[in-house]
Symmetry: C2
Subunit: 334 residues, 2 copies
């Protein structure tokens, strides 16, 4: 059978037990020119909360009663004369939260499981890694010597943002929740400083860690942390708006950055980004990131949970922060 | 005597009668190499409210008991062997709200009263005009065919922003307060549309006037109008943060733009600007603006009030909106 997570209700705040339904469907059969993929891993990302919301955004919302959208990676178990993909190939794409998917292969990309662990292809070598790469380089426009502040710094995107900034010669401060994550980003990832937003007063801590101010702030969280970062900008600073996880469960009453006039005082720029815009350059980025991984300059951490039945509980870890690195759900049963 | 307006107290909200004091001082005497200037006109600008506030900004605050800072224009009445300026020269600079000023001439620029009325040199050919020019061209990066929305559209900056955008082939919508100003920007300045924020629901009105969305929003006001503009951005839109007059009297509780995540959805940019950064190009801009004025492509309107005693009441017109075009105070007594 093919276990699927179906979107049943649009939640107001945090998703709850009425949001999803686990369904058992027959495993679909590929038509001529299609493949059947058995998923090994599903990518769990904060952006998924946005796709559950009705209305215009950068991508169509997930419809009620549809399989929840998600990035995924799996193996071709049946190829019905597909022109490119054969049985045994590993592919990554938008397979959704389910154990099997049939596709004509459009927007699916082959990966080599001998070069990297499968979960890394939906993390550092997938959307989160691409988001970090293009966000900090193309939008943040970092230069050697810049002071770079990143929130969600132990997460799938933030951890890569900070490491790329280190590779490029920046001074990097990360904001994360809890002593363990703060220790990790400093001692394992090599950040120059860490701020524990759960135990520190954020304004004071940013002042302490960025005494000369911030050249680039990479924002994954929004809310008070964005406001605090705005209060310490240097001239011509750049703020990359990548996400706002603190606001995603309360989008009817988003906290606007009340310190936004710091943009004026400091001639600074706040710019939004969506990773899909850089799709034509994913290959180049993956190659460079792969090189850094091979040289040990870039470390990738995946936090893998088990079982599609645990999708809901695992998904909520994105918002509680109770995970380290890229959150991944293993859905293949062994 | 030299009548001066002195900053006596830093107001919390709108300045009141305790904020300023009118003083009579002896007319100062220029030392060797200095000139004595008799002011004709003082420029009244929203930015002055910011300079009255303590603390770091893009310029030092006015100190208590000092003459209130302001742009000004006047005539040299005594030159004590100044190397460049002689009696009878007209100069513009930062003379403050007073009838006479002594200076060594640094940061004062000569103007020709036969080419334009004096008040225009502190308006369209002065700081407000330069702000409009560099803001819409260098920060807004307008292109032919763009839909440009500007707030404070009948004001010193906004009226020029909109007219430059028209010259560059944009579709221009202005937001102003009251039917008279709306009629003025459409019928006299040639804007394509007008929104009266005092009588219209701003979200609906922006939707009506910008059905395809906004490419560039030039913000002079902040607050709810900024939020409404954010809700209608087109892809890759640019927001120029020039000012936030709706917030200037309540800076301890600024309304942050809660729709700022529209920057992400639309890959848009919000950038602050301060006109002083473009000082080296003022000459080139003034020349181009002068050409447009001469050809009748650009219209300049100054709203001139009389008497330094009326400084306080006149200044408040910036916030009530009870003025049309550039607000100017004539301080020479005839």
């Amino acid at each position: 059978m093919n276990k699927q997570i179906i979107l049943k209700n649009r939640p107001e705040g945090l998703p709850d037990e009425n949001t999803w339904e686990l369904q058992n469907k027959a495993i679909p059969e590929p038509k001529e020119g299609e493949v059947l993929i058995q998923h090994h891993y599903i990518s769990l990302d904060p952006a998924m909360r946005g796709w559950m919301r009705e209305g215009k955004s950068y991508i169509e919302p997930v419809e009620l009663d549809d399989v929840m959208r998600a990035g995924s990676i799996g193996k071709v178990v049946t190829s019905n004369n597909h022109p490119k993909f054969k049985e045994g190939d590993f592919l990554t794409g938008w397979g959704g939260v389910q154990q099997y998917v049939v596709t004509n292969g459009e927007n699916w990309y082959p990966v080599d499981p001998s070069l990297a662990p499968l979960p890394m292809y939906i993390g550092t070598l997938g959307m989160p890694g691409m988001t970090a790469y293009f966000g900090i380089l193309e939008v943040g426009k970092i230069k050697e010597g810049d002071t770079v502040l990143v929130s969600g710094a132990a997460g799938a995107v933030g951890s890569i943002v900070g490491q790329i900034a280190k590779i490029k010669g920046c001074r990097v401060i990360g904001i994360a929740g809890g002593a363990e994550k703060c220790k990790y980003i400093k001692e394992v990832l090599g950040f120059d400083g860490a701020i524990d937003y759960k135990s520190e007063e954020i304004y004071d801590a940013i002042k302490r860690e960025c005494p000369k101010g911030i050249d680039v702030y990479f924002d994954n969280v929004g809310g008070e942390i964005l406001d605090a970062a705005l209060s310490r900008l240097r001239m011509h600073a750049r703020i990359v708006i990548c996400g706002a996880i603190s606001q995603y469960n309360n989008m009817n009453d988003v906290k606007g950055p009340k310190n936004y006039l710091s943009l004026l005082v400091n001639r600074a720029t706040m710019q939004g980004m969506v990773v899909m815009d850089y799709a034509k350059d994913y290959g180049k980025a993956a190659k460079e990131m792969g090189g850094w991984l091979a040289q040990g300059k870039l470390k990738s951490k995946e936090d893998v949970y088990q079982g599609i039945e645990n999708f809901h509980d695992t998904f909520l870890r994105l918002f509680s922060g109770d995970k380290m690195g890229k959150l991944v759900l293993k859905v293949i049963e062994e």
